[in-house]
Protein backbone atom coordinates (compact mmCIF):
# COMPACT_ATOMS: atom_id res chain seq x y z
CA UNK A 1 0.00 0.00 0.00
CA UNK A 2 2.68 2.49 1.03
CA UNK A 3 4.98 1.15 -1.70
CA UNK A 4 2.29 1.89 -4.27
CA UNK A 5 1.90 5.42 -2.94
CA UNK A 6 5.63 6.02 -3.11
CA UNK A 7 5.79 4.83 -6.72
CA UNK A 8 3.01 7.23 -7.67
CA UNK A 9 4.75 10.02 -5.79
CA UNK A 10 7.98 9.35 -7.70
CA UNK A 11 6.09 9.59 -10.98
CA UNK A 12 4.44 12.84 -9.84
CA UNK A 13 7.71 14.52 -8.86
CA UNK A 14 9.53 13.44 -12.03
CA UNK A 15 6.62 14.63 -14.17
CA UNK A 16 6.76 18.02 -12.44
CA UNK A 17 10.42 18.32 -13.45
CA UNK A 18 9.62 17.36 -17.04
CA UNK A 19 6.89 20.01 -16.93
CA UNK A 20 9.32 22.67 -15.68
CA UNK A 21 11.84 21.81 -18.40
CA UNK A 22 9.32 21.86 -21.22
CA UNK A 23 7.29 24.89 -20.14
CA UNK A 24 10.31 27.13 -19.46
CA UNK A 25 10.96 27.05 -23.20
CA UNK A 26 7.54 28.48 -24.08
CA UNK A 27 7.99 32.13 -25.17
CA UNK A 28 5.92 34.84 -23.42
CA UNK A 29 4.03 35.56 -26.61
CA UNK A 30 2.40 32.12 -26.33
CA UNK A 31 1.57 32.25 -22.62
CA UNK A 32 -2.16 32.66 -23.10
CA UNK A 33 -2.47 29.68 -25.47
CA UNK A 34 -0.22 27.77 -23.07
CA UNK A 35 -2.68 28.39 -20.26
CA UNK A 36 -5.77 27.42 -22.23
CA UNK A 37 -3.98 24.43 -23.74
CA UNK A 38 -2.64 23.15 -20.44
CA UNK A 39 -6.11 23.72 -19.07
CA UNK A 40 -7.47 21.32 -21.66
CA UNK A 41 -4.81 18.82 -20.59
CA UNK A 42 -5.93 19.08 -16.96
CA UNK A 43 -9.26 17.84 -18.32
CA UNK A 44 -7.53 14.43 -18.25
CA UNK A 45 -9.52 13.98 -15.06
CA UNK A 46 -12.20 12.89 -17.60
CA UNK A 47 -10.70 9.39 -17.17
CA UNK A 48 -11.84 9.28 -13.56
CA UNK A 49 -15.16 10.88 -14.43
CA UNK A 50 -15.93 8.31 -17.14
CA UNK A 51 -15.07 5.38 -14.87
CA UNK A 52 -17.31 6.70 -12.08
CA UNK A 53 -20.20 7.69 -14.33
CA UNK A 54 -20.29 4.33 -16.06
CA UNK A 55 -19.70 2.06 -13.08
CA UNK A 56 -23.29 2.06 -11.75
CA UNK A 57 -22.10 1.76 -8.15
CA UNK A 58 -24.92 3.80 -6.71
CA UNK A 59 -27.19 6.64 -7.73
CA UNK A 60 -25.21 9.42 -6.02
CA UNK A 61 -21.86 8.39 -7.50
CA UNK A 62 -23.41 8.12 -10.96
CA UNK A 63 -24.86 11.61 -10.79
CA UNK A 64 -21.61 13.07 -9.42
CA UNK A 65 -19.91 11.23 -12.28
CA UNK A 66 -22.30 12.75 -14.82
CA UNK A 67 -21.54 16.28 -13.67
CA UNK A 68 -17.82 15.45 -13.55
CA UNK A 69 -17.93 14.18 -17.15
CA UNK A 70 -19.72 17.38 -18.17
CA UNK A 71 -17.22 19.66 -16.42
CA UNK A 72 -14.24 17.77 -17.77
CA UNK A 73 -15.64 17.78 -21.31
CA UNK A 74 -16.16 21.56 -21.15
CA UNK A 75 -12.52 21.78 -20.16
CA UNK A 76 -11.27 19.43 -22.89
CA UNK A 77 -13.41 20.62 -25.80
CA UNK A 78 -13.45 24.30 -24.83
CA UNK A 79 -9.74 24.32 -23.99
CA UNK A 80 -8.38 22.64 -27.11
CA UNK A 81 -10.71 24.49 -29.47
CA UNK A 82 -10.09 27.95 -28.10
CA UNK A 83 -6.34 27.28 -28.11
CA UNK A 84 -6.53 26.26 -31.75
CA UNK A 85 -8.51 29.42 -32.52
CA UNK A 86 -5.84 31.55 -30.89
CA UNK A 87 -2.85 29.78 -32.41
CA UNK A 88 -4.42 30.11 -35.84
CA UNK A 89 -4.04 33.88 -35.46
CA UNK A 90 -0.30 33.86 -34.74
CA UNK A 91 1.40 34.59 -38.03
CA UNK A 92 4.79 35.81 -39.05
CA UNK A 93 4.23 37.82 -42.23
CA UNK A 94 1.40 40.27 -42.76
CA UNK A 95 1.13 39.34 -46.46
CA UNK A 96 0.04 35.79 -45.72
CA UNK A 97 -3.46 36.60 -44.64
CA UNK A 98 -4.29 39.73 -46.57
CA UNK A 99 -7.41 38.90 -48.52
Amino acid sequence: MIGELVTLLVIFVLAMFVGFEVITKVPPTLHTPLMSGSNAISGITIIGALIIAGAADNQISSILGLVAVMFAMINVVGGFMVTDRMLHMFKRKPEEEKK
Binding site: I11, A15, L30, S38, I47, G54, G65, F80, P94
Partner: protein, 463 residues
Protein backbone atom coordinates in the same frame (compact mmCIF):
# COMPACT_ATOMS: atom_id res chain seq x y z
CA UNK B 1 -2.67 -7.99 -19.00
CA UNK B 2 -5.59 -5.77 -19.99
CA UNK B 3 -4.65 -3.48 -17.17
CA UNK B 4 -1.07 -3.21 -18.41
CA UNK B 5 -2.29 -2.43 -21.90
CA UNK B 6 -4.54 0.35 -20.56
CA UNK B 7 -1.64 1.80 -18.60
CA UNK B 8 0.56 1.79 -21.68
CA UNK B 9 -2.00 3.68 -23.75
CA UNK B 10 -2.39 6.22 -20.95
CA UNK B 11 1.37 6.59 -21.04
CA UNK B 12 1.15 7.20 -24.78
CA UNK B 13 -1.42 9.95 -24.13
CA UNK B 14 0.90 11.57 -21.56
CA UNK B 15 3.82 11.42 -24.01
CA UNK B 16 1.66 13.15 -26.63
CA UNK B 17 0.85 15.88 -24.07
CA UNK B 18 4.55 16.44 -23.43
CA UNK B 19 5.38 16.51 -27.14
CA UNK B 20 2.48 18.87 -27.69
CA UNK B 21 3.69 21.25 -25.00
CA UNK B 22 7.20 21.06 -26.46
CA UNK B 23 5.90 22.33 -29.79
CA UNK B 24 4.54 25.40 -28.00
CA UNK B 25 8.12 26.67 -27.91
CA UNK B 26 7.53 28.47 -31.22
CA UNK B 27 4.43 30.06 -32.77
CA UNK B 28 5.25 28.23 -36.01
CA UNK B 29 4.87 24.76 -34.49
CA UNK B 30 2.40 25.57 -31.71
CA UNK B 31 -0.74 24.70 -33.62
CA UNK B 32 0.38 21.16 -34.44
CA UNK B 33 1.41 20.84 -30.79
CA UNK B 34 -2.12 21.57 -29.70
CA UNK B 35 -3.34 18.96 -32.17
CA UNK B 36 -0.95 16.35 -30.76
CA UNK B 37 -2.22 17.05 -27.26
CA UNK B 38 -5.85 16.74 -28.34
CA UNK B 39 -5.07 13.41 -30.06
CA UNK B 40 -3.55 12.32 -26.73
CA UNK B 41 -6.77 13.26 -24.98
CA UNK B 42 -8.88 11.36 -27.53
CA UNK B 43 -6.69 8.28 -26.98
CA UNK B 44 -7.12 8.59 -23.20
CA UNK B 45 -10.91 8.86 -23.50
CA UNK B 46 -11.26 5.93 -25.92
CA UNK B 47 -8.94 3.77 -23.80
CA UNK B 48 -11.05 4.44 -20.71
CA UNK B 49 -14.30 3.53 -22.43
CA UNK B 50 -12.78 0.36 -23.95
CA UNK B 51 -10.99 -0.97 -20.89
CA UNK B 52 -13.47 0.07 -18.21
CA UNK B 53 -16.55 -1.00 -20.14
CA UNK B 54 -19.31 1.15 -18.68
CA UNK B 55 -22.25 -0.69 -17.13
CA UNK B 56 -24.48 2.28 -17.67
CA UNK B 57 -24.02 4.53 -20.69
CA UNK B 58 -26.69 7.14 -20.11
CA UNK B 59 -24.77 9.18 -17.51
CA UNK B 60 -21.65 9.26 -19.64
CA UNK B 61 -23.55 10.22 -22.78
CA UNK B 62 -25.60 12.97 -21.15
CA UNK B 63 -22.50 14.43 -19.47
CA UNK B 64 -20.34 14.19 -22.58
CA UNK B 65 -22.92 15.71 -24.92
CA UNK B 66 -23.75 18.56 -22.55
CA UNK B 67 -20.09 19.28 -21.77
CA UNK B 68 -18.94 19.15 -25.39
CA UNK B 69 -21.74 21.44 -26.51
CA UNK B 70 -21.06 24.00 -23.79
CA UNK B 71 -17.32 23.82 -24.43
CA UNK B 72 -17.85 24.26 -28.17
CA UNK B 73 -20.11 27.27 -27.71
CA UNK B 74 -17.65 28.87 -25.26
CA UNK B 75 -14.68 28.31 -27.55
CA UNK B 76 -16.48 29.72 -30.58
CA UNK B 77 -18.21 32.68 -28.97
CA UNK B 78 -15.55 34.08 -26.65
CA UNK B 79 -13.95 37.35 -27.69
CA UNK B 80 -10.17 37.57 -27.59
CA UNK B 81 -10.44 40.45 -25.12
CA UNK B 82 -12.42 38.13 -22.81
CA UNK B 83 -9.82 35.34 -22.85
CA UNK B 84 -8.84 35.84 -19.16
CA UNK B 85 -12.44 35.17 -18.11
CA UNK B 86 -12.58 32.10 -20.33
CA UNK B 87 -9.40 30.65 -18.87
CA UNK B 88 -10.59 31.41 -15.33
CA UNK B 89 -13.80 29.53 -16.03
CA UNK B 90 -11.98 26.57 -17.60
CA UNK B 91 -9.69 26.39 -14.55
CA UNK B 92 -12.80 26.22 -12.40
CA UNK B 93 -14.41 23.41 -14.37
CA UNK B 94 -11.19 21.38 -14.28
CA UNK B 95 -10.93 21.74 -10.52
CA UNK B 96 -14.64 21.04 -10.11
CA UNK B 97 -14.43 17.84 -12.16
CA UNK B 98 -11.55 16.54 -10.02
CA UNK B 99 -13.40 17.33 -6.79
CA UNK B 100 -16.52 15.55 -8.08
CA UNK B 101 -14.57 12.41 -9.02
CA UNK B 102 -12.97 12.31 -5.57
CA UNK B 103 -16.36 12.88 -3.90
CA UNK B 104 -17.91 10.05 -5.93
CA UNK B 105 -15.07 7.78 -4.77
CA UNK B 106 -15.82 8.77 -1.19
CA UNK B 107 -19.50 7.86 -1.66
CA UNK B 108 -18.46 4.54 -3.21
CA UNK B 109 -16.25 3.63 -0.24
CA UNK B 110 -18.92 4.80 2.20
CA UNK B 111 -21.56 2.56 0.60
CA UNK B 112 -19.13 -0.35 0.70
CA UNK B 113 -18.78 -0.09 4.47
CA UNK B 114 -16.79 3.07 5.09
CA UNK B 115 -13.26 1.67 5.17
CA UNK B 116 -10.81 3.73 3.12
CA UNK B 117 -7.11 2.75 3.02
CA UNK B 118 -5.05 5.66 4.34
CA UNK B 119 -3.27 6.42 1.05
CA UNK B 120 -6.57 6.71 -0.83
CA UNK B 121 -8.11 8.61 2.06
CA UNK B 122 -5.42 11.29 1.97
CA UNK B 123 -5.69 11.56 -1.81
CA UNK B 124 -9.49 11.78 -1.77
CA UNK B 125 -9.64 14.50 0.88
CA UNK B 126 -6.86 16.60 -0.66
CA UNK B 127 -8.30 16.22 -4.14
CA UNK B 128 -11.70 17.37 -2.86
CA UNK B 129 -10.18 20.36 -1.06
CA UNK B 130 -7.91 21.54 -3.91
CA UNK B 131 -10.54 20.86 -6.59
CA UNK B 132 -13.33 22.63 -4.73
CA UNK B 133 -11.32 25.73 -3.86
CA UNK B 134 -10.09 25.93 -7.45
CA UNK B 135 -13.71 25.83 -8.55
CA UNK B 136 -15.02 28.54 -6.20
CA UNK B 137 -11.87 30.68 -6.49
CA UNK B 138 -12.09 30.59 -10.26
CA UNK B 139 -15.73 31.65 -10.16
CA UNK B 140 -14.75 34.70 -8.06
CA UNK B 141 -11.87 35.46 -10.45
CA UNK B 142 -14.32 35.16 -13.35
CA UNK B 143 -16.74 37.52 -11.62
CA UNK B 144 -13.98 40.06 -11.04
CA UNK B 145 -12.74 39.92 -14.62
CA UNK B 146 -16.26 40.24 -16.03
CA UNK B 147 -16.84 43.02 -13.52
CA UNK B 148 -19.89 41.23 -12.15
CA UNK B 149 -18.31 41.97 -8.78
CA UNK B 150 -15.86 44.72 -7.96
CA UNK B 151 -12.40 44.22 -9.41
CA UNK B 152 -10.92 46.08 -6.46
CA UNK B 153 -9.28 44.25 -3.59
CA UNK B 154 -11.98 43.70 -0.96
CA UNK B 155 -10.83 43.82 2.63
CA UNK B 156 -12.50 43.59 6.03
CA UNK B 157 -11.18 43.52 9.59
CA UNK B 158 -9.53 40.31 10.80
CA UNK B 159 -9.51 39.00 7.22
CA UNK B 160 -6.26 37.09 7.54
CA UNK B 161 -7.20 35.63 10.92
CA UNK B 162 -10.55 34.41 9.60
CA UNK B 163 -8.93 32.86 6.53
CA UNK B 164 -6.22 31.21 8.62
CA UNK B 165 -8.85 29.72 10.93
CA UNK B 166 -10.83 28.34 8.00
CA UNK B 167 -7.64 26.84 6.56
CA UNK B 168 -6.81 25.24 9.92
CA UNK B 169 -10.37 23.92 10.21
CA UNK B 170 -10.08 22.42 6.73
CA UNK B 171 -6.80 20.68 7.56
CA UNK B 172 -8.22 19.37 10.84
CA UNK B 173 -11.22 17.90 9.02
CA UNK B 174 -8.93 16.31 6.41
CA UNK B 175 -6.97 14.62 9.20
CA UNK B 176 -10.14 13.46 10.96
CA UNK B 177 -11.63 12.03 7.76
CA UNK B 178 -8.43 10.20 6.85
CA UNK B 179 -8.41 8.49 10.27
CA UNK B 180 -12.16 7.90 10.45
CA UNK B 181 -13.60 8.12 6.92
CA UNK B 182 -17.14 6.83 7.50
CA UNK B 183 -18.51 10.30 8.27
CA UNK B 184 -20.64 11.89 5.56
CA UNK B 185 -21.46 15.00 7.61
CA UNK B 186 -17.86 16.17 8.22
CA UNK B 187 -17.18 15.36 4.59
CA UNK B 188 -19.98 17.73 3.59
CA UNK B 189 -18.57 20.39 5.90
CA UNK B 190 -15.13 19.85 4.37
CA UNK B 191 -16.52 20.55 0.90
CA UNK B 192 -18.27 23.64 2.24
CA UNK B 193 -15.12 24.96 3.93
CA UNK B 194 -13.00 24.38 0.83
CA UNK B 195 -15.59 26.25 -1.24
CA UNK B 196 -15.53 29.15 1.21
CA UNK B 197 -11.73 29.14 1.29
CA UNK B 198 -11.56 29.54 -2.49
CA UNK B 199 -13.91 32.53 -2.38
CA UNK B 200 -12.16 34.22 0.55
CA UNK B 201 -8.70 33.66 -0.91
CA UNK B 202 -9.45 35.44 -4.20
CA UNK B 203 -11.71 38.25 -2.90
CA UNK B 204 -8.87 40.34 -1.38
CA UNK B 205 -6.88 40.30 -4.63
CA UNK B 206 -7.28 43.26 -6.98
CA UNK B 207 -7.94 43.25 -10.72
CA UNK B 208 -4.43 43.94 -11.98
CA UNK B 209 -3.03 41.09 -9.88
CA UNK B 210 -5.32 38.71 -11.77
CA UNK B 211 -2.48 37.39 -13.99
CA UNK B 212 -0.98 35.85 -10.86
CA UNK B 213 -4.28 34.49 -9.59
CA UNK B 214 -5.23 32.90 -12.91
CA UNK B 215 -1.79 31.32 -13.22
CA UNK B 216 -2.01 29.96 -9.71
CA UNK B 217 -5.53 28.57 -10.20
CA UNK B 218 -4.26 27.03 -13.45
CA UNK B 219 -1.61 25.27 -11.41
CA UNK B 220 -4.18 24.14 -8.81
CA UNK B 221 -6.43 22.64 -11.46
CA UNK B 222 -3.47 20.55 -12.58
CA UNK B 223 -2.58 19.54 -9.02
CA UNK B 224 -6.22 18.58 -8.42
CA UNK B 225 -6.13 16.32 -11.50
CA UNK B 226 -2.87 14.74 -10.30
CA UNK B 227 -4.40 14.11 -6.84
CA UNK B 228 -7.36 12.47 -8.55
CA UNK B 229 -4.77 10.24 -10.21
CA UNK B 230 -3.69 9.12 -6.73
CA UNK B 231 -7.37 8.48 -5.88
CA UNK B 232 -8.10 6.21 -8.83
CA UNK B 233 -4.53 4.89 -9.01
CA UNK B 234 -3.86 6.16 -12.53
CA UNK B 235 -0.37 7.24 -13.63
CA UNK B 236 -1.70 9.00 -16.75
CA UNK B 237 -3.63 11.45 -14.60
CA UNK B 238 -0.68 12.02 -12.30
CA UNK B 239 1.74 12.82 -15.14
CA UNK B 240 -0.68 15.10 -16.99
CA UNK B 241 -1.79 16.84 -13.82
CA UNK B 242 1.82 17.42 -12.78
CA UNK B 243 2.61 18.97 -16.19
CA UNK B 244 -0.21 21.48 -15.79
CA UNK B 245 0.72 22.08 -12.17
CA UNK B 246 4.29 22.89 -13.21
CA UNK B 247 3.13 25.13 -16.04
CA UNK B 248 0.91 27.17 -13.75
CA UNK B 249 3.68 27.51 -11.18
CA UNK B 250 6.16 28.77 -13.78
CA UNK B 251 3.71 31.37 -15.03
CA UNK B 252 2.90 32.42 -11.47
CA UNK B 253 6.60 32.90 -10.82
CA UNK B 254 7.14 34.91 -14.03
CA UNK B 255 4.21 37.20 -13.19
CA UNK B 256 5.41 37.80 -9.64
CA UNK B 257 8.94 38.60 -10.84
CA UNK B 258 7.56 41.02 -13.42
CA UNK B 259 5.92 42.94 -10.59
CA UNK B 260 8.89 42.61 -8.25
CA UNK B 261 6.61 41.16 -5.60
CA UNK B 262 6.53 37.86 -3.77
CA UNK B 263 3.63 35.47 -4.19
CA UNK B 264 2.74 36.00 -0.53
CA UNK B 265 2.61 39.74 -1.12
CA UNK B 266 0.27 39.33 -4.10
CA UNK B 267 -2.02 36.93 -2.25
CA UNK B 268 -2.24 38.63 1.11
CA UNK B 269 -1.37 42.32 0.87
CA UNK B 270 -4.65 43.45 -0.77
CA UNK B 271 -2.60 45.61 -3.14
CA UNK B 272 -4.73 48.18 -4.93
CA UNK B 273 -7.56 48.36 -2.41
CA UNK B 274 -7.28 52.14 -2.22
CA UNK B 275 -6.87 54.48 -5.12
CA UNK B 276 -6.63 58.20 -4.53
CA UNK B 277 -8.84 59.80 -7.12
CA UNK B 278 -7.60 63.04 -8.63
CA UNK B 279 -9.41 65.28 -11.08
CA UNK B 280 -10.57 63.78 -14.37
CA UNK B 281 -8.16 65.80 -16.48
CA UNK B 282 -5.55 68.52 -16.35
CA UNK B 283 -3.03 69.27 -13.69
CA UNK B 284 -2.63 67.24 -10.55
CA UNK B 285 -1.12 69.41 -7.86
CA UNK B 286 0.86 72.29 -9.32
CA UNK B 287 2.63 70.25 -11.99
CA UNK B 288 1.52 70.72 -15.55
CA UNK B 289 0.55 68.09 -18.02
CA UNK B 290 0.78 68.73 -21.76
CA UNK B 291 -1.93 67.46 -24.00
CA UNK B 292 -1.88 67.58 -27.78
CA UNK B 293 -4.29 67.38 -30.68
CA UNK B 294 -4.73 64.35 -32.89
CA UNK B 295 -3.30 66.32 -35.81
CA UNK B 296 -0.10 67.15 -33.91
CA UNK B 297 0.25 63.55 -32.80
CA UNK B 298 -0.29 62.33 -36.36
CA UNK B 299 2.43 64.62 -37.69
CA UNK B 300 4.81 63.46 -35.00
CA UNK B 301 4.14 59.80 -35.83
CA UNK B 302 4.21 60.22 -39.59
CA UNK B 303 7.65 61.83 -39.61
CA UNK B 304 9.22 59.49 -37.06
CA UNK B 305 11.84 56.91 -37.94
CA UNK B 306 10.83 54.44 -35.25
CA UNK B 307 7.56 54.21 -33.33
CA UNK B 308 6.95 51.81 -30.44
CA UNK B 309 3.46 50.95 -29.24
CA UNK B 310 3.18 49.91 -25.59
CA UNK B 311 -0.27 48.42 -24.95
CA UNK B 312 -1.89 47.72 -21.58
CA UNK B 313 -5.22 46.62 -20.18
CA UNK B 314 -6.82 49.79 -21.59
CA UNK B 315 -6.29 48.39 -25.09
CA UNK B 316 -8.42 45.38 -24.19
CA UNK B 317 -11.09 47.55 -22.57
CA UNK B 318 -11.32 49.83 -25.61
CA UNK B 319 -10.97 46.86 -28.01
CA UNK B 320 -8.74 49.07 -30.12
CA UNK B 321 -6.36 46.37 -31.43
CA UNK B 322 -7.61 46.55 -35.03
CA UNK B 323 -7.28 50.33 -35.15
CA UNK B 324 -3.76 50.11 -33.73
CA UNK B 325 -2.80 47.69 -36.47
CA UNK B 326 -4.38 49.91 -39.13
CA UNK B 327 -2.40 52.93 -37.96
CA UNK B 328 0.77 50.83 -37.74
CA UNK B 329 0.27 49.69 -41.35
CA UNK B 330 -0.10 53.27 -42.55
CA UNK B 331 3.03 54.31 -40.72
CA UNK B 332 4.97 51.36 -42.16
CA UNK B 333 3.82 52.30 -45.65
CA UNK B 334 5.41 55.69 -45.00
CA UNK B 335 8.67 53.98 -44.04
CA UNK B 336 8.37 54.21 -40.26
CA UNK B 337 9.73 51.24 -38.28
CA UNK B 338 6.94 50.01 -35.99
CA UNK B 339 7.46 47.80 -32.96
CA UNK B 340 5.31 46.66 -30.07
CA UNK B 341 6.61 46.51 -26.49
CA UNK B 342 4.91 43.91 -24.31
CA UNK B 343 5.34 43.98 -20.54
CA UNK B 344 4.82 40.55 -18.95
CA UNK B 345 1.97 41.75 -16.74
CA UNK B 346 0.27 44.03 -19.25
CA UNK B 347 -3.38 42.98 -19.35
CA UNK B 348 -5.20 40.54 -17.15
CA UNK B 349 -3.38 37.30 -17.90
CA UNK B 350 0.02 36.15 -19.16
CA UNK B 351 0.26 36.82 -22.89
CA UNK B 352 -3.06 38.71 -23.03
CA UNK B 353 -1.70 41.53 -25.24
CA UNK B 354 -0.01 39.14 -27.65
CA UNK B 355 -3.29 37.35 -28.33
CA UNK B 356 -5.14 40.62 -28.91
CA UNK B 357 -2.52 41.87 -31.35
CA UNK B 358 -2.38 38.48 -33.06
CA UNK B 359 -6.13 38.73 -33.53
CA UNK B 360 -5.59 42.03 -35.33
CA UNK B 361 -3.07 40.22 -37.58
CA UNK B 362 -0.03 41.94 -36.13
CA UNK B 363 2.86 39.65 -37.12
CA UNK B 364 4.42 38.16 -34.01
CA UNK B 365 7.95 39.13 -35.00
CA UNK B 366 6.98 42.78 -34.39
CA UNK B 367 6.16 41.98 -30.76
CA UNK B 368 9.05 42.42 -28.33
CA UNK B 369 9.45 41.39 -24.71
CA UNK B 370 10.54 43.91 -22.13
CA UNK B 371 14.21 42.78 -22.13
CA UNK B 372 14.39 42.88 -25.91
CA UNK B 373 12.84 46.29 -26.42
CA UNK B 374 14.23 48.27 -23.49
CA UNK B 375 17.67 48.98 -25.07
CA UNK B 376 15.81 50.08 -28.20
CA UNK B 377 13.87 52.98 -26.65
CA UNK B 378 16.85 55.34 -26.92
CA UNK B 379 16.61 54.96 -30.69
CA UNK B 380 12.87 55.48 -30.70
CA UNK B 381 11.33 58.79 -31.79
CA UNK B 382 7.84 58.27 -30.45
CA UNK B 383 6.48 55.73 -27.97
CA UNK B 384 2.71 55.45 -27.85
CA UNK B 385 1.33 54.14 -24.56
CA UNK B 386 -2.12 52.69 -24.99
CA UNK B 387 -3.99 52.24 -21.72
CA UNK B 388 -0.92 51.12 -19.78
CA UNK B 389 0.12 52.87 -16.61
CA UNK B 390 2.11 51.24 -13.81
CA UNK B 391 4.26 49.25 -16.25
CA UNK B 392 5.67 52.48 -17.74
CA UNK B 393 5.99 54.52 -14.53
CA UNK B 394 9.62 55.71 -14.18
CA UNK B 395 9.07 55.92 -10.41
CA UNK B 396 9.73 52.18 -10.42
CA UNK B 397 13.33 53.04 -11.33
CA UNK B 398 13.89 56.38 -9.57
CA UNK B 399 11.65 56.79 -6.56
CA UNK B 400 12.61 54.64 -3.60
CA UNK B 401 9.48 55.68 -1.71
CA UNK B 402 7.14 54.48 -4.45
CA UNK B 403 5.23 51.21 -3.93
CA UNK B 404 6.27 50.38 -7.47
CA UNK B 405 10.00 50.81 -6.76
CA UNK B 406 12.03 47.91 -8.12
CA UNK B 407 9.42 46.66 -10.54
CA UNK B 408 10.93 46.14 -14.00
CA UNK B 409 9.27 48.56 -16.44
CA UNK B 410 9.25 49.45 -20.12
CA UNK B 411 11.69 52.37 -20.43
CA UNK B 412 9.41 54.39 -22.70
CA UNK B 413 10.60 57.61 -21.07
CA UNK B 414 13.96 57.13 -22.78
CA UNK B 415 12.45 57.70 -26.21
CA UNK B 416 12.43 61.20 -27.76
CA UNK B 417 8.71 61.66 -27.20
CA UNK B 418 5.96 59.76 -25.51
CA UNK B 419 2.27 59.99 -26.21
CA UNK B 420 -0.03 58.55 -23.57
CA UNK B 421 -3.53 57.59 -24.64
CA UNK B 422 -5.71 57.59 -21.58
CA UNK B 423 -9.24 58.41 -20.59
CA UNK B 424 -8.33 60.53 -17.57
CA UNK B 425 -5.53 61.35 -15.15
CA UNK B 426 -6.70 58.61 -12.78
CA UNK B 427 -3.73 56.74 -11.27
CA UNK B 428 -3.11 53.14 -12.24
CA UNK B 429 -3.88 50.03 -10.28
CA UNK B 430 -1.17 50.63 -7.71
CA UNK B 431 -2.82 53.93 -6.84
CA UNK B 432 0.36 55.81 -7.66
CA UNK B 433 0.64 59.00 -9.67
CA UNK B 434 2.56 58.36 -12.89
CA UNK B 435 5.65 60.56 -13.17
CA UNK B 436 5.80 59.99 -16.89
CA UNK B 437 2.68 62.10 -17.44
CA UNK B 438 4.50 65.19 -16.16
CA UNK B 439 7.65 64.69 -18.21
CA UNK B 440 8.63 67.44 -20.60
CA UNK B 441 8.67 65.12 -23.58
CA UNK B 442 5.34 63.56 -22.81
CA UNK B 443 1.96 64.55 -24.22
CA UNK B 444 -1.41 63.20 -23.22
CA UNK B 445 -4.10 62.30 -25.72
CA UNK B 446 -7.24 62.06 -23.65
CA UNK B 447 -10.23 60.00 -24.71
CA UNK B 448 -11.27 56.45 -25.57
CA UNK B 449 -8.34 54.65 -27.21
CA UNK B 450 -10.38 53.27 -30.11
CA UNK B 451 -11.79 56.69 -30.81
CA UNK B 452 -8.40 58.36 -30.61
CA UNK B 453 -6.89 55.84 -33.01
CA UNK B 454 -9.67 56.42 -35.53
CA UNK B 455 -8.94 60.13 -35.40
CA UNK B 456 -5.19 59.50 -35.66
CA UNK B 457 -5.73 57.33 -38.75
CA UNK B 458 -7.73 60.12 -40.39
CA UNK B 459 -5.13 62.68 -39.41
CA UNK B 460 -2.20 60.64 -40.74
CA UNK B 461 -4.00 60.41 -44.09
CA UNK B 462 -3.96 64.21 -44.23
CA UNK B 463 -0.25 64.54 -43.43
Amino acid sequence: MMDALAKLTYLLAAVLFILGLKRLSSPATARTGNWLASVGMAIAIITTVVFYTPVEWQYILIGAVLGSTIGLIFARAVKMTAMPEMVALLNGFGGGASALVASAEFVKYYNAGGEIPVNFGVAIMLSVVVGTLTFSGSLVAFGKLRELITGRAVTYPMQKTVNALILLGTLALVTWLVIDPANPLPFGILVGLAFLLGILAVTPIGGADMPVVISLLNSYSGIAAALTGFVINNEGLIISGALVGASGLILTNIMCKAMNRSLANVLFSAFGSEVQETGPAGAAGDRTVRSLTHEDAATMLAYARQVVFAPGYGLAVAQAQHEVRELADMLQDRGVVVKYAIHPVAGRMPGHMNVLLAEADVPYDQLFDMEQINPDFERTDVSVIIGANDVVNPAARNDKSSPLYGMPILDVDKSQHTIVLKRSMRPGFAGVENELFFHENNSMLFGDAKDSFKKLIEAVKEV
